[in-house]
């Protein structure tokens, strides 16, 4: 594991054949300079830094969880945790037409993907893919939403991460993880939601598998009222 701080020259043996320079690395002439603190990662000709952060900066293609804050004309104004609000056109929902508008109110939560992040403008979101299918995106009904750090979100949905699998052995729940650090989930009862929330938040700094299983087991057996 190599850590880079802003201003460090990225000098990795595999970096010469990397054609795609990703997050956290700036190219200045011949040299590559880190612009954010993070751990070096490379995969199939791509290189990037894994940055730990709590503040989301929108990137095209990210799936995020957004809160509807207002309705202006053809757009819903959304809070995705960035400096400025994001927008979603009401036709970018599955089954929506000019006549048939989606029925969203202020405070509703939607799962959407970012498709336009032109600088100096508001980010634009969509709830449908290129075939106009929702594929899981759209409004999230009921449940509970909370924030964790961005790297914890990325870790949770990593295929090799055991956290959600382990929780799944004890609880029955559904979960949506947004890349902007928001997690929405729903379970059978309020008690289960509280327990799962606790486990997810506490698992952020847990590395070992045994420790993780203990954490989930403790969360499962303790009662919520104490």
């Amino acid at each position: 594991m190599t850590i880079y701080l802003p201003g460090d020259v990225v000098n990795e043996p595999s970096s010469s054949d990397s054609s795609i320079i990703g997050y956290g690395i700036n190219v200045r002439g011949e040299t590559k300079v880190a612009s954010q603190p993070g751990v070096y990662r490379s995969d199939e000709g791509k290189m990037w830094l894994n940055v730990h952060s709590k503040r989301y900066i929108p990137q095209e293609g990210d799936r995020v969880i957004a809160i509807v804050t207002s309705k202006t004309g053809d757009f819903f104004r959304l809070d995705i945790g960035t400096a400025e609000y994001a927008m979603v056109n009401f036709t970018n929902f599955e089954g929506a037409t000019k006549r048939n508008r989606p029925n969203l109110k202020t405070g509703d939560i939607i799962y959407a993907s970012v498709f336009d992040t032109t600088p100096r403008t508001e980010a634009e979101l969509t709830c449908v893919d290129d075939e106009k299918r929702a594929r899981g995106m759209g409004q999230l009904n009921g449940g509970f939403m909370f924030n964790v750090s961005l790297n914890h979100c990325r870790r949770l949905i990593h295929p090799e991460c055991k956290i959600l699998q382990t929780i799944g052995k004890f609880f029955k729940f559904e979960i949506t993880v947004g890349m902007n650090g928001r997690i929405w989930m729903n379970a059978a009862g309020v008690d289960d939601i509280i327990k799962i929330h606790d486990v997810i938040v506490k698992s952020e700094f847990v590395k070992e598998d045994d420790e993780l299983i203990n954490l989930v087991q403790n969360g499962y057996t303790r009662s919520v009222s104490d």
Binding site: M1, P6, G7, P37, H52, S53, R55, A83
Partner: protein, 214 residues
Amino acid sequence: MVGRLREMRCEVSFLKNADGSASFSQGATCVWASCSGPGDVHASKANEEAMTLDVSYRTNCGDNKFHELNNIIQSTLSKAINLELFPHTSAAVTIHGIQDDGSIGAVALNGACFALLDNGMPFETVFCGVLVVRLKDELIVDPTAKQEAASTGRVLFSICRGSDGGPEVCSMDAIGPWDFEQLEAAWCYAQPSARAIFDFYRNVMQRKHSVDEQ
């Protein structure tokens, strides 16, 4: 000549509600620093070309509207951060002096850098602060409050890491009479300390990122 830094301790992600924060101490001098941003900005403060940087140093008591440390922290931060990357946003950097046992300016700068590193915001280079005082024609790096009070001159270096990895003066605040040779000598003493602080940044961040070793 005393050229040693006191023991440094740091805990990052210390404050729950800030995007990035740190509790940093050097000897008995301690600060809490937080950095939130890039975030929403009030229309009257918004700048269409660059990020608005809101720096405030706060002491435990008294009027906290203005503080002489704000100037050097503000100028260091605006050099370290490429403000044009995030126009029409603001970043708030708040440093709270918890306990002052000398070199509070240097500790505040180091704390601010830790808060920025914890935030994960893009910036150009890491920076640190080193205070050097002159006490009876002797130069002391990172003095205690007692040494600082008895000193005849003090100079606070705010140091950026240059492109070659070595320390470079970013800005500086000198009090008392200093001639050129003395300043040069003070700078020579500050450089190894700056290197030690940069290494400390790396160690702390390494520990923070050790969670995704898998």
